[in-house]
């Protein structure tokens, strides 16, 4: 989920690779283990409540990146502290000399953070936040930042592509806000190389941002089609995460290097993993249904039909518990009976391909 740091152990887990290293394989296995402690990451939420439009939300995770690293009192948001010091350069020096800087050991650094529900600018002052919203340039019936890449005027969903280097402040503020609900994001400010895909839905007669995913345009691994994904808590359970996942695969079809197969950057957060496994399973179920009368299938064939990386395909098949093996030395088989059981258990008719996007509305 994080943007840059996480791949310490999975750089070679390319689906199309012909490489034969155990490192490749074992690293894929280890994708599931997370590397802890990145900057900006705290053990507990340090902001008590965040106000976002009509919602007051308790953040899930802490975010130190809203604050000035050298200001241990955490009395002010980072930009307030920086502006104060810029106006009175001696203030910081005074603090250092007298060593009287109050160190805030409380878990909560800030009680209320007000985030603009249109452009993600933030403030600790509610009045300022409200005033800003009235004049906010992004406060429009339909968003106009970035490029329209999905427009479903029946279900009222819009996806816009916003490029980091074109709209740095918007994207930085989006990342900072997203961190409140993501545990392992670690790039908030150097976002030039990332595209952000923000999904807007209708609420109170206006399209407002409900979540996003980011895509690294210069990923070391050309097959990474998604760096991090986040649906803001008030809008969860609308299947927007799955919709964005499907969109990321559509986007991959038009990304050089990703036409064959692609997938999310590892490691996935526990929530991310559940969403992906559920999505992959449903898509793969349809492929298996179509191939069930064949004598055998290969992981590569499933990759070809779905665009999923081979590792993701095998992981999903394994997770569906439809691959069976008499003993450790015998060949692996796909059990159609197990497959039917899985479909029944998950209430899925595999003859129908599940679609979350309205294909007509894709404007990539």
């Amino acid at each position: 989920m994080s943007l840059i740091e996480t791949q310490t152990n999975n750089e070679e887990q390319n689906g199309n690779s012909n490489s034969n290293g155990k490192a490749l394989v074992s690293s894929t296995k280890e994708l599931k283990i997370k590397e802890p402690s990145f900057y900006g990451v705290l053990n507990k939420p340090n902001i008590e409540f965040v106000y976002f439009g009509n919602y007051k939300i308790s953040p899930w995770y802490g975010n130190a990146a809203y604050f000035y690293p050298q200001d241990l009192s955490h009395n002010l948001l980072g930009y307030e502290y920086a502006n104060k010091v810029a106006l009175d350069p001696l203030a910081r020096k005074r603090n250092k000399e007298t060593d009287n800087q109050e160190i805030n050991t409380n878990v909560i650094w800030l009680e209320n953070l007000f985030v603009c529900p249109f452009c993600f600018k933030y403030t600790a002052n509610q009045h300022e936040g409200n005033q800003h919203q009235v004049l906010c340039k992004c406060n429009k019936y339909r968003p106009n930042i970035g490029k329209l890449v999905y427009y479903d005027s029946t279900s009222n969903y819009i996806i816009r592509e916003i490029r980091g280097f074109q709209h740095p402040l918007y994207c930085q503020n989006l990342c900072l806000f997203g961190k409140l609900f993501l545990d392992d994001k670690s790039i908030y400010y150097n976002i030039d190389h990332f595209n952000f895909y923000v999904i807007y839905g209708m609420e109170s007669d206006k399209y407002i941002p409900m979540g996003f995913f980011s895509k690294e345009m210069l990923s070391y691994d050309v097959e990474n089609n998604l760096a991090c994904i986040c649906i803001f808590p008030p809008f969860q359970r609308k299947k927007l995460g799955t919709l964005l996942i499907e969109f990321s695969y559509e986007l991959a079809k038009f990304t050089p290097g990703q036409y064959r197969s692609s997938g999310p950057e590892f490691p996935l957060s526990p929530f991310g993993q559940i969403s992906y496994l559920s999505y992959w399973s449903k898509k793969i179920a349809n492929v298996i249904y179509k191939m069930k009368n064949k004598k055998s299938i290969t992981v590569a064939e499933v990759m070809k039909y779905t665009g999923f990386r081979k590792e993701d395909v095998l992981l999903t098949l394994e997770n569906m518990k439809i691959l069976v093996q008499e003993d450790l030395d015998s060949s692996v088989l796909l059990s159609i009976k197990n497959f039917e059981n899985w479909c029944q258990l998950n209430n899925l008719d595999p003859s129908i391909e599940v679609k979350y996007l309205n294909e007509e509305c894709i404007l990539i």
Binding site: N9, E11, E12, N18, S19, K22, A23, L24, V25, S27, K29, E30, K32, G53, N54, Y68, Y79, A82, A86, T123, H127, N130, H132, V134, C136, R142, N144, K147, L148, Y151, Y189, D192, L218, Y220, D221, V222, P233, K253, T255, R260, P270, K295, S296, T298, A300, K310, L314, L315, E318, N319, K321, V324, L333, L334, S335, I336, K337, N338, C361, L363
Partner: protein, 329 residues
């Protein structure tokens, strides 16, 4: 950028902590496309490679309260202009950059190590070094040694290629980024009011400008080479007539091969894989008459006789190899 050096095998059966590669324990279904037979029988002996993940989800109470926002009616000045965040965000960006650069330096260092490993493997005492970095079961077995040497070299070369590819993309991107002029607009997006089909067409044209068009090259004999920036280059039959399509590019991108004598390269055996050819990368320019090329791509990076990464298409058209262009004149 990511560490180019691979994670050391955590295999407990092997205590050699400097081992980078273990080629004995690969997944046949992923790496070698081993077929998975289909059976009608049910079974509870589930195959497990990754191990089923039943990690408990962190409990997150969804603590959301709906509130009624009361916004002021009239506001003169925005109390949160973008300039307010400038100093702080610039500082944080700089700090973060430093962190990223340190990571990059580490990776470059590791690439250096890999390059020197590669050199060592090509020297006379390579056996000793090989056993230090790759899992070898019997150091006296020369055939195992030779095989593992080749596998290790392939693996290292792949990583080096990948990093080279990243570097190239990085340069391209940074150029674009440097030349970008920021413009902000307050106007509504006209795309909302266009018919979807029209927006789609617009996107297609934007894409063509950005990545270059799909190039069709008439090879004669009713064969046509298609190079698509989003697909694998392929040869198709019966498409030769379409090559003069008007929608190809702003400029004429299809330069037909001399009609009288099509290049021998293709002939009829386009689907005959020649292993030795696939192993090394050969530039299109260096293709000779009697070579046979496997156009049916089988999954590695060598495509169409050249590295797929070296096959960019540009907005101003596809350039034929130099010797072909000269020959035409």
């Amino acid at each position: 950028m990511v560490s180019p050096r691979k994670l050391r095998s955590k295999d407990t059966t092997n205590n050699n902590s400097t081992l980078l590669y273990d080629f004995d324990n690969i997944n046949e279904y992923i790496s070698n496309d081993k077929p998975i037979g289909i059976t009608k029988k049910a079974s509870d002996n589930h195959y497990s490679w990754f191990g089923i993940m039943n990690k408990p989800l962190p409990t997150k109470q969804i603590d959301i309260i709906e509130i009624d926002q009361i916004l002021p009616r009239r506001v003169q000045i925005d109390p949160l202009p973008s300039s307010k965040y400038e100093i702080f965000h610039r500082k944080m960006r700089k700090d973060e950059k430093q962190m990223i650069n340190e990571e990059k330096d580490r990776n470059f260092y590791e690439l250096d190590i890999l390059t020197s490993e590669l050199q060592t493997l090509n020297q006379y005492n390579w056996e000793k070094r090989l056993c230090q970095i790759t899992k070898v079961n019997d150091p006296r077995d020369t055939s195992e040694l030779e095989l593992k040497k080749q596998l290790t070299i392939n693996e290292i070369e792949k990583i080096l290629r990948k990093s080279e590819n990243w570097r190239k993309r990085n340069d391209l991107f940074n150029n674009k980024f440097k030349n970008y002029v920021r413009k902000e607009t307050d106007e509504s997006d006209e795309d909302y009011d266009l018919p979807l089909e029209e927006v789609k067409l617009k996107r297609k044209n934007e894409r063509r400008l950005k990545y270059g068009p799909k190039v069709k090259l008439n090879l004669g004999n009713d064969l046509c080479l298609i190079i698509d920036p989003f697909g694998i280059p392929k040869i198709v039959k019966g498409h030769a007539a379409i090559t003069k399509s008007k929608t190809q590019s702003p400029r004429k991108i299809v330069r037909e091969m001399p009609k009288s004598k099509p290049k021998e390269v293709i002939k009829k055996e386009v689907h005959v894989p020649i292993e030795s050819f696939k192993q090394k990368s050969i530039k299109l320019e260096n293709v000779t008459k009697d070579m046979k090329i496997d156009f049916k791509n089988s999954g590695d990076e060598v495509l169409f006789g050249t590295l797929s990464n070296n096959l960019p298409t540009f907005a101003n058209g596809f350039q034929l190899p130099l010797n072909v262009r000269r020959a035409k004149k």
